[in-house]
Symmetry: D2
Subunit: 91 residues, 4 copies
């Protein structure tokens, strides 16, 4: 992911926010907070994970498939990798 230098700080910031959300869920469970509130926290972190996935897919697509100058074989491999993860994600 050396190509992602421009995006790296943003991806790290996103991931740290997700870590913070997960830590808050852990505290809520430990403190026996209300069920409904915890369920909404989990729905929130799921949305944040989807957002991270979107950014990583965009980054992969740009760097390994779309970018000018790649070889046909590079693009084919990048495409196969992308499809494998999309298939896993949409299951």
């Amino acid at each position: 992911m050396s190509h992602a230098r421009t995006n790296k700080d943003q991806l790290l910031a996103r991931t740290r926010r997700i870590a913070g959300q997960v830590a808050a869920i852990e505290r809520a469970i430990a403190d026996e907070a209300g069920c409904a509130a915890i369920l909404h926290q989990v729905a929130g972190v799921r949305g944040a994970i989807a957002g991270l996935m979107d950014e990583l897919v965009a980054d992969h697509l740009q760097s390994h498939i779309v970018a000018p100058g790649l070889s046909d074989a590079d693009r084919a491999q990048g495409g196969d990798e992308l499809l494998a993860v999309i298939r896993r994600y949409t299951k």
Copy 2:
């Protein structure tokens, strides 16, 4: 979630595993690991979040809606809370 005492340790363990997965994603991004590998890590944590959600839904359903001895009003409120989070989750 005082009702969840029996499940509390299990829910905490699940949440800590998710925290570990998120920390591993953060390290992978920081270390500029391969895109495809990171995408699969994110797909993995998404599955773990779905598993946590399922457990919390089961717990809420049992404790606030199905459990014998609840009032009709309690069940109605528990049902409304569950639907709100399912609607958010399935969007």
Copy 3:
């Protein structure tokens, strides 16, 4: 689903709209419409399916779990049925 008489017409109308969306996708593929347009049609029908699922879950929850006067055994069975489908759906 005899309980759903009040909702039955609405559920049928939703399902027929989905059938119409699927028929439109079939025509678009047959006519070799643009890829991106077809992908958005499929995303649209997926959202409509999620909406139908939400309505059916709400109906099942109300009629078989929350409704006053059910036996404890009825509620337990209704709850198990709901969890089974939620687990399948969130996978």
Copy 4:
């Protein structure tokens, strides 16, 4: 989607199967079949929609982004179209 001629029959067959599943759901609602059975039918059609989406994404990726001989501008446009639909789908 003129490029999809090789896949067209397969995509049409998939879409027709989905149409059949939706028609079966409509009949089940009309006949007041059991809630739990209908919920599983809807979960099944959701899975089939996801499978159709995967095939269409694979087709779009190959034809408009990966294929040798495309211009840089073509690939950039194909990539933007793909991301737009993935962002919609993962929401």
